[in-house]
Symmetry: C2
Subunit: 214 residues, 2 copies
């Protein structure tokens, strides 16, 4: 069955790969599954046809026959569960890899989203300059702990998994802030993720969309 | 094998059930699995023995033989995958229930965490009064969309699932703010969750810990 995902017609990041369709493209590339992409404009994302697929009016979505999914974490998990390459076979190792998926999205990403909000939505507020350092410090708390846990390992728990895929994707959002480079261990971890051929193919595919002439 | 979870020795909420061990207790109660609880002080949470179980120094953790998990979402999923009652048998319905687990934790909860930070960590800042309404509005965006999607259904997608368990748990954190009551549909949804016998047992168990004489 054909897999169809949705992506921004024009990503707000102009093709830096930080929109969430990159995470799904990456997962599909890791397991060598072909997919089609339907581009959605900001206006269309809030219209009934897209809201029927994604109740929160965002991208990406995932369609495969009658199955419709949203939420990057859930889509990545669905792909990882059905195709070899993103979750270990051993039951305990698999449960730990899934733990890192949730850790990326529910522990590491929320303060990063808060930092994005501080910049994008409150950058013009009178409190912005004084508040930003506090928000950055909240991002650093889990990063410190994550870099300790990772140590000198290549990946979070044995072989590369969907947990690493999501963690690297979440950490990538920090690069423009400079905070990622405060943690050489994590910066190297992210670089290992970016060096994977599947990531490169995913990145190039989203870049092609965002640099296409309209 | 005995299941052991960790919980706060004294929850910061004094027993309102908002600490994350309640989510895991609830999941275990839904599938009728007995469990033991090891209480952890704030100091012990940041010490090596606990950090070996939970790299981010939080609760809850989940131990079962040699398996150690952290992250409430991952623990709830592990429980749901191994015992009947929290995920539908049909493959597509199961994937959609998992989607709601991720939606609760990565779409609905992040702005709620931001609101908690605004109150707890920045309540004494000069910008607090002017900023709080903006943060509350960011919470309302996904709540509006969620209440539209839920409509007059009892649960998010057919029968009660681990997706509802996490979504109700996340929404419960909003009750003190008054925002939940702005959405009668969602307030009724949360009340249905709280009325489940398994939730009541979980709530009572955490309350007993937090009201025990020390």
């Amino acid at each position: 069955m054909t897999i169809t995902i949705t992506a921004f017609e024009r990503s707000p990041d102009g093709g830096k790969g930080l929109a969430r369709d990159t995470r799904v493209r990456w997962a599909l590339e890791e397991v060598s599954q072909p997919y089609e992409v339907r581009l959605v404009s900001f206006r269309a994302m809030k219209e009934p046809a897209h809201l029927a697929l994604h109740p929160f009016g965002r991208i990406p979505t995932y369609e495969e026959g009658e199955l419709v999914l949203f939420e990057t974490g859930a889509i990545a998990f669905h792909i990882a569960e059905r195709h070899a390459g993103l979750l270990p076979a051993d039951a305990n190792a698999r449960a730990r890899a899934i733990t890192w998926m949730f850790a990326a999205l529910n522990t590491v990403e929320p303060p990063i989203l808060e930092l994005a909000n501080a910049r994008l939505l409150e950058g013009d507020k009178p409190w912005s300059a004084e508040r930003l350092p506090l928000v950055k410090d909240r991002v650093r708390v889990p990063l410190n702990q994550l870099s300790v846990r990772l140590g000198d390992a290549d990946w979070l728990d044995g072989a590369f998994s969907a947990g690493d895929l999501l963690m690297v994707s979440v950490l990538l959002r920090l690069r423009p802030s400079g905070i990622l480079d405060e943690y050489p261990t994590l910066a190297a971890y992210v670089a290992r993720g970016e060096a994977r051929p599947a990531y490169k193919r995913a990145f190039d595919a989203q870049l092609a969309v965002n640099t296409a002439k309209k």
